[in-house]
Symmetry: C2
Subunit: 404 residues, 2 copies
């Protein structure tokens, strides 16, 4: 597989409209007091309507998640409507009714079945949506639909995000090229099990439902599930994959999964890069783990340590806090010998065999936004990376501001 384009965060990158067969829009429905865009619509014009989705594993979920799980259950989705400015979570039966009315409205205007409309909402928990504004906004969003509307859609789903997040990848094949593109939002409440966010991915490849579902599960587990900004799992996470088949190219499943994983990885990295108040993006890599699960458990334990993350903010390569977190993982989960642990930070091995090695003053963290922490367990051959952020004054500031 050769990568043709990978624009990432390039200006007005097409995102969900990079692939053929999709129209999108992002408009202002008036849900945000800031007056910024807050309603996005993505429509699959086919010929295929295959879809797959992955949702939060939180037991407390928003009404949109309850609705959308049902909508995608038959593997057919024609449109996704997303709003920022309100999560519609913990809003009771009225909240569910609001989702239903939103899907009915999209279905009526676009002449689709409401049951083929996925609904996603993001914002504050516990407040009802101004449903009149949402329904009026759907009319505006439908009239704004465009084959180049992916960027506007990515802007409309932003909350505390400072930049829209889009990515796309075009792959050549025997039957012609095909494309995977996507958008995501999320700048806090990022945690495994699914990283908290809304994400829509589109492709014009020809993919059946089973392949779409398996590819999405695999891609998410390798990407969104391995970013952990602040250890907090949301109630609204939704990743939806829409397949138009408009390219008529039929990729092999492995090639499609690889391309999808690459787009998801690009979006994941963009989420971490824009995490609330962060000054460092930190890759915690565990090498020579006995199993992938063992490496993941150790990497997540380190990535979730407030003491470690505060040290990173202070540009302090405090490897003692790394080892203290590694030590919290039970032996049944991750076998290793504490006296064999090595830690390297930005290329300087500060800890060897569980003790001090090169001086920590040799590590210069202030110079780079990216920090690479490498933990060698000497217990196997698996390698796992989890991305996180540092714990900063700005994180506390953003998340302690009164919510109303």
């Amino acid at each position: 597989m050769t990568i043709e384009t990978l624009d990432g965060l390039a200006e007005r990158s097409p995102g969900v409209t990079a692939a053929a067969g999709f129209r999108a829009s992002g408009i202002t429905a008036g849900l945000k007091s800031s007056g910024r865009p807050d309603l996005a619509l993505v429509v699959n014009e086919g010929p295929s309507q295959v879809a797959a989705a992955v949702f939060t594993t939180n037991r407390v979920v928003g009404a949109p998640v309850v609705w959308s799980r049902q909508a995608v259950a038959d593997g057919v989705v024609s449109a996704v409507v997303l709003n920022s400015g309100g999560a519609n979570v913990c809003t009771g039966p009225d909240g569910f009714l609001d989702v239903h009315r939103t899907a009915e409205k999209v279905g009526a205007v676009l002449e689709l079945s409401p049951g083929d409309v996925v609904v996603c909402s993001t914002g504050l928990i516990g407040e009802p949506l101004p449903i009149g504004k949402v329904l009026a906004g759907v009319d505006v969003a439908v009239s704004a639909l465009s084959r180049t509307g992916g960027y506007d859609a990515a802007v409309a789903i932003m909350t505390t995000d400072t930049v829209p997040k889009t990515a796309h990848l075009t792959v050549p094949g025997d039957q012609g090229e095909w494309t995977v593109g996507g958008m995501a939002k999320g700048a806090g409440m990022l945690a495994p099990g699914l990283a908290t966010m809304l994400c829509v991915i589109t492709t014009d490849a020809v993919i059946d439902v089973e392949t779409a579902q398996a590819a999405l599960r695999s891609a998410v587990s390798q990407t969104f599930d391995r970013i952990d900004s602040d250890g907090c799992m949301s109630t609204s996470d939704t990743v939806t994959l829409l397949v138009s088949g408009a390219s008529r190219a039929v990729p092999d499943p492995a090639g499609f999964t690889a391309a999808l994983t690459q787009v998801c990885a690009q979006l994941s990295r963009a989420l971490i890069a824009d995490a609330e108040g962060a000054s460092h993006d930190i890759a915690v890599t565990v090498m020579n783990a006995s199993t992938e699960a063992a490496g993941l458990a150790v990497a997540r334990a380190v990535a979730r340590s407030n003491l470690f993350k505060a040290a990173m903010f202070g540009n302090d390569p405090n490897w003692g806090r790394v080892l203290a977190q590694v030590g919290t993982v039970p032996e049944s989960v991750a076998p290793y010998d504490p006296d064999q642990l090595d830690v390297t930070i930005n290329g300087v091995q500060v800890c060897k065999s569980g003790g001090a090695y090169q001086p920590r003053t040799d590590v210069d963290l202030a110079a780079s936004r990216e920090v690479h922490v490498l933990i060698d367990l000497h217990a196997g051959s698996e390698v796992v990376t989890v991305w996180t952020n540092d714990l900063t004054h700005d994180y506390v500031l953003e998340n302690s501001a009164y919510s109303t």
Copy 2:
């Protein structure tokens, strides 16, 4: 059981010398660059030398923990020597040798077996102790031993603590009164499994080894294991109970366990009250849980949420963040119906049946340091409380300051 005295944080509260049969001291050995006291000694003059201890469950532990586990294994301890200014963790074979030399020194000066000396250290990980200063300090500490030295000892084990923590309780009995007293340090790295800290508890009651061990395990599980300042488990946690039997009073095991639990609860509460940079002490109480383990899992999940803790710092009764954390606990651990959850914050029920109820603006968090969050699972009858702190600018500041 009637409580006679419970002085808590009273000035020059005797702590470990409240009970008869103990001498203690706290002196300056020169381990801290600040010149503050940094070496404490507690000696059991008997007639009993019974002891029990509980240690961190971290797999990465300091040399003092390795030594002290062995020292207490036979149920006999004559003295505890504690230093601040260096944790002696991740210091290799030389670090263990330093512990051995410290115990030998204490044994030689006091004419005790080194194997009956528990050693505790707290401070930065990965730096060797200036062992010459420690050994010279032991001579000074022995000459300073006094039957009223408990307060000085409590001062000498402080690190980022702003106040020494002591507590004691005297209980009347058929054979005369008996006393439990103690001291603790710790202002960060507090987490379950053991709350990170050093703690020495003394009693002049007559208690056998088995009762001492069982009572200490029970008391710790109800107190230190239920405070969680920042979710970070330390490498050095040690709680040691020394029994002198000097009162000749033989309490029933249940009465002793109750008194010990009360002293541990007092010390636990003092640790939370002095947690690094905190502006609120937060009691997360889960009621009507199906089991104690279920309630504990839910309470800990909430107590560890950075988003929740930052909201508390902002005096924002953001119950949505409480529910989002409750939702992360698997059903196999804590059965409940998300649509039945109630949340009350400082007496105002802000969430009923999983949705908004009384206005959150009715909750005034700014007025009090203590915050009480009550979560009703409607799934049983167990009640569990975990104490935590808010996430503040000062926490980030203190923990991001360069460690050298």
